[in-house]
Amino acid sequence: MTVAAHGYAPAASDRWRRLALAFSDSRNLLGLVFMLPAAALLIVFLAYPLGLGLWLGFTDANLGSTGRFTGIANYLSLAGDPVYWLSVSNTILYTVIASAAKFFLGLWLALLLNQNVPFKAFVRAIVLLPWIVPTVLSAIAFWWIYDTQFSVITWALKGLGLIDGSIDFLGNGTNARISVIVANVWRGIPFVAISLLAGLQTIPGSLYEAATLDGASSYQRFRYITLPMLTPIIAVVMTFSVLFTFTDFQLIYVLTRGGPVNTTHLMATLAFQRAIPGGRLGEGAALASSMIPFLVAAVMFSYYGLQRRKWQQGTRD
């Protein structure tokens, strides 16, 4: 027995060694193992909550009960809800206008910052401030700025003798929509500007020199060098910018809570209102899930619409 046991042990050890060697030689297997921690994190913190949210949207779950499967009842109910459609149109309006404004102003700022300005590093750091300040804090600042009684804008305009009464920034639908969009743009510009600035700095100066020697105007340099070279960055930046804007919550929650008369309710704020304070988890989840197609469409547009590889390579699409 002892001899047999001794004879068996090296064989087993050899097999394990061979397995270990095969394992370390297999790039696929090793890659899989290395990916596992990241995959686990994504599954636990991303895929599971997303899956649960989607599932809740198909149930009549409320606070305290897991609910029953009700198929698309929540979605049918939302389809007949004018407040839901108002929130959809508000969200689209908010996203389109704010994203476009952030892009143009951000690009303009990036081009300015790309010039040789004095105290370049300091100015760039200052530009980032609105992005660094926590959203809730900047939202509270805007809450004061937009206050009917205490607005600094009203105060200044009154002081200059330009107006007599108070400006009702958040008191009617149109003003409130414009006000929240302005606040969002103020907060989002630095992200776009700094990201595009990083992109601008990767464009080789020799291209501009060559173009200048060829007699290209500044518009032509921008149109045929800057823009094509910047397009991949624009695609990524605008994808994120659109996503952030579409899913905005804090600004609205602090400034208006969706009022007046739901004119500033976004899908995210309405979903929260229905699911948590309102207690209707299923309906809130369905509402939140209904944002997904819009988000996917926005990503598709940004990604495929802007990342035109042939154009970047200097040929026509």
Binding site: G64, D147, G171, V261, P277, G279
Partner: protein, 438 residues
């Protein structure tokens, strides 16, 4: 959001405290009659709404510590903005984990009754000892005949006003009826000292006065059978009344959130609004001489009675409830019993200068209601109020009507001119039907 956390731990000399504390002994005896013996080594976590007046929190924490020390247990009290307590309670109910006790608002416990500990023994004990609970407390705290929560009282909403401005407008005091109240607001507007009531998504102040306006004219969201009856001539009458009232308001009320009227009132921009006693408290305790001067001119009055001929106030109710996942149900219930006993509750009301109106009838004689006559109008806040589900039952649907601002938005849409009273009543009724049908 700001968290305030206090950890109260048992002192080593708990036994000595027990022996020395003359007040503790009778209360322990009372608890024994309920057969509530806190579990040895119990650790309780309490989540409550963050104080509106400093005295409330100081007193609450000190009394909690007294109880924890006397019973050799640990109690941690977390405070959060009252609107943030509701989602926390919801999550606790959903996941089955979190604070042992939550002191929430309105019909929170009615949304997840099956998750809560039956506190009937404590409620019946307190009711029998202190003259009974006001009727509205039973509607809020009971479900299917058993108590699922202990009503703590309500943050009464009264008409906070500048007396000198009211007098200048030709009225000695706030009128007792809605018709003359409108005349007062018109006179205030004419004098440049207008009234202002929140019409934005102000969960507390907006819902409070808008429900009063609706109910005072006989309108209601649902009837006792939970059938939506909001689209009614009474609702239209209420909307027409508020439209006239709105014309007299300080600009900007359509965007007002809960803190807005406090700011406007204390800055002198508005002379009449609805609020708890906190505006007066802020002025009275301010170091600024101008504020102290203003405090002398601040008075309170109850809402006027409308065509229905009886008070129809709506106030923010606070309720304490214990989750079934707690490992220490007896400690939780006994702690609540202790805090609700007269020896603790009345001093707490005093420390809160009457911010919370009592739920038990015997506390009517609390000195806080007479020591400063300005607090007296808040005394009957619970006695005269209706619940937010009126006149149907409380539960998910009634909570959703409040959280979706169905009534506030109905009034706001008329005031903003985006809908006629009839259109607004119809649209709001449709919203309510969706909620009650779900």
């Amino acid at each position: 959001m700001t968290n305030r956390r206090d950890v109260i731990k048992l002192g080593a000399g708990a036994g000595l405290v027990l022996g020395a504390g003359g007040l503790i002994k009778p209360r322990r005896a009372a608890a024994q009659s309920l057969n509530l013996k806190p579990e040895p080594g119990a650790k309780l976590r309490v989540l409550r709404w963050k104080r509106f007046v400093q005295g409330d929190e100081v007193n609450w924490l000190a009394t909690t510590k007294k109880y924890a020390d006397a019973n050799n247990i640990e109690i941690r009290v977390d405070s959060e903005n009252w609107e943030d307590v509701r989602p926390k309670a919801a999550v606790a109910a959903q996941v089955g984990s979190g604070p042992d006790i939550i002191i929430g608002t309105n019909d929170d416990p009615q949304k997840f009754p099956s998750k809560l500990v039956d506190v009937s023994d404590v409620a019946e004990y307190l009711g029998a000892k202190y003259g009974g609970w006001y009727d509205v407390c039973k509607r809020y705290g009971q479900r299917d005949g058993k108590w699922i929560a202990l009503p703590m009282g309500a943050a009464g909403a009264c008409l906070v006003h500048r007396k000198s401005h009211i007098q200048k407008a030709g009225f000695e005091e706030i009128p007792k009826d809605t018709a003359n109240f409108l005349k007062l607001c018109q006179a205030l507007h004419k004098n440049g000292t207008p009234a202002g009531f929140a019409l934005g998504h102000a969960t507390g102040d907006g819902n409070t006065w808008c429900h009063w306006a609706l109910w005072s004219h006989g309108g209601m969201v649902v009837n006792p059978k939970n059938e939506v009856v909001l689209d009614s001539p009474e609702t239209v009458a209420a909307l027409e009344y508020v439209k006239q009232l709105y014309a007299t308001f300080v600009p900007g009320t359509l965007s007002w959130l809960d803190p807005s009227n406090n700011k406007a009132f204390l800055s002198g921009e508005c002379s009449l609004t609805n609020n708890g006693i906190s505006v007066y408290y802020a002025a009275k305790t301010s170091d600024a001489p101008a504020m102290q001067e203003m405090a002398k001119d601040i008075y309170h009055a109850n809402f006027p009675v409308g065509p229905v001929g009886r008070p129809t106030e709506f106030n923010l109710m606070f309720q304490a409830f214990v989750f079934q996942y707690t490992k220490f149900p007896n400690a939780a219930k006994d702690y609540l019993r202790f805090m609700w006993e007269r020896e603790q509750f009345v001093p707490w009301m005093e420390a809160s200068i009457g911010y919370v109106s009592h739920p038990l009838k015997a506390y009517e004689d609390a000195p806080v209601w007479t020591a400063d006559p300005k607090a007296t109008p808040y005394r009957d806040s619970v006695k005269v109020m209706l619940d937010n589900g009126y006149s149907g039952t409380l539960g998910e649907a009634s909570a959703a009507v409040i959280s979706d601002f169905v009534v506030v938005d109905m009034f706001a849409s008329v005031c903003a001119g985006s809908a006629s009273p009839k259109e607004a009543a119809k649209a709001a009724a449709e919203k309510a039907k969706r909620i009650y049908k779900a």
